[in-house]
Symmetry: C2
Subunit: 278 residues, 2 copies
């Protein structure tokens, strides 16, 4: 990992030990797929960052400088993952957000995750997502529920886990949104009570004519096809959920083709997706 | 603020930019009142830290070293606040907790907060606490709800705010637990669905013969007396909640006397409480 740390416009050598990101998860973040040194969805990620920052009343990083630093991290025109973390900044002790705080922001470069071979296997997580409309949708840094759920998946030997909310409705995977095919209709759960409004999810809603609707556990298990998606890995076909198996479905391949038209990193001839489909 | 940062047994100059505390609020913390260089409730705080760390499967700091560093931070035998933050440590990108992670821990010294003069004023927060039994009770670092609620209090010009859960039950203040007097009985809300099981709250349950019970908004407004408490400020008598006023109540003074017997920092002749009672 290569990381560069800033406080407002000023580059820092290190994160302050009283940063509110560390103390309270008082921040938001984005993870972006970089394709040949470019971030094709930069604007969409920046818009969601701005929405989250506005909800939490955190100042944004200087936009042009952030873009320049992102480019510099990938000046070898390589592929990878770019993470942008924005916290409210250093801020003493106590929950009260300081009246004048200068945000901390960190841009870091990471390798692409190892591609899944074939479809992924899913686990129903026991941990539920708490219903919190004030934080739903945004990609904030309070992620202990996801950490606990992800640990469950690892113990279960599954690639990913499906999370339900406190009322039993299915929301998403730990680090991806969920689409299920019912007949010829793609469905995806709403994210206004909990969950994250994923950038890849948003990009797919229109091309797939997908409908946002509440889904019960049985709706997922009965679906004709299921995929997960996020802005780093694109579309991950689901092969298995407990005892349920799904063969490769042409609807998922069509969705992958739609996504490939929207983001060159997810083209079927891109290296990671080649691997994914073997 | 003076802070010392460790990774396992090793002292560090700075927090790593990929610390999971910063990325996900993946940690727990304690704030302790220091009285003449001593932390009278160290053991109680350590037990709660251990409980939270065990729930999240985070390794504890080396106990003896943590105690020694705490002593060194207050080797002038001064009064103040000691904060211990424990995160899962550095850990790459992704929610999955690394199989072998070395925890980060930070001990920092802070001044005592400015004492409240007279009783405190409260605001009913609009933000609700999400119900999450998996995280309830422990003092974890996912505190955006408290940050949002505290910002509401500041906008309302109140000293503190009362938080209800998603079902409308009263839980606590943003940074303190709540006790209400009903006739001759002290009541306090349970903290098994959300909220923090405060160290001061725990210390007071037996001496006050307090009963844990669900409280509605009206139960608080109708109470004969109300106080907040935490391990830094002790007991804070409540004077005002919206239109409701409470005069000084002998039951609160008796509770303060009980607390003073349990922790020398909260004795009525201690400087901060002298101020509080003038």
């Amino acid at each position: 990992m290569t990381a560069r740390i800033f406080r407002g416009r000023e580059e820092l050598a290190a994160v302050a030990p009283d940063d509110r990101g560390l103390a309270y998860g008082d921040g938001v973040f984005e993870t972006m797929r970089v394709h040949r040194g470019e971030v094709p969805w930069w604007d969409a990620h920046w818009r969601r960052l701005a929405l989250g920052a506005s909800r939490l009343q955190i100042a944004l990083p200087p936009a042009r400088q952030a873009r320049e630093v992102a480019r510099a991290l990938f000046d070898d025109a390589g592929d990878g993952v770019l993470k942008l973390l924005l916290s409210r900044g250093a801020g003493g002790r106590g929950y009260a957000p300081p009246a004048e705080s200068v945000p901390t922001w960190i841009l870091s470069r990471h390798p692409l995750p190892r591609p899944a071979r074939g479809g992924v296997s899913l686990h129903w997580c026991d941990v539920r997502l708490a219903v919190q409309p004030a934080l739903a949708g945004i990609k904030h840094c309070n992620r202990l529920e996801q950490v606990l759920a992800r640990a469950e998946c690892d113990r279960a030997g599954a690639d990913e886990g499906l999370l339900r909310d406190a009322d039993g409705y299915v929301v998403s995977a730990t680090a991806a949104n969920l689409f299920v095919l019912s007949g010829d209709r793609w469905l995806t759960p709403p994210v206004d009570r909990c969950g994250v409004a994923g950038t890849c999810r948003a990009a797919l809603l229109a091309p797939l004519s997908a409908r946002e609707t509440s889904l019960a556990k049985e709706d997922v298990e009965r679906a004709d096809a299921v995929f997960l998606c996020n802005a780093v890995r694109g579309i991950l076909p689901v092969a298995r959920l407990g005892a349920r198996r799904w063969p490769v479905h042409p609807g998922v391949a069509a969705a992958q083709a739609s996504l490939a038209r929207l983001h060159p990193g997810f083209r079927l001839d891109a290296p990671a997706l080649d691997d994914l489909n073997t």
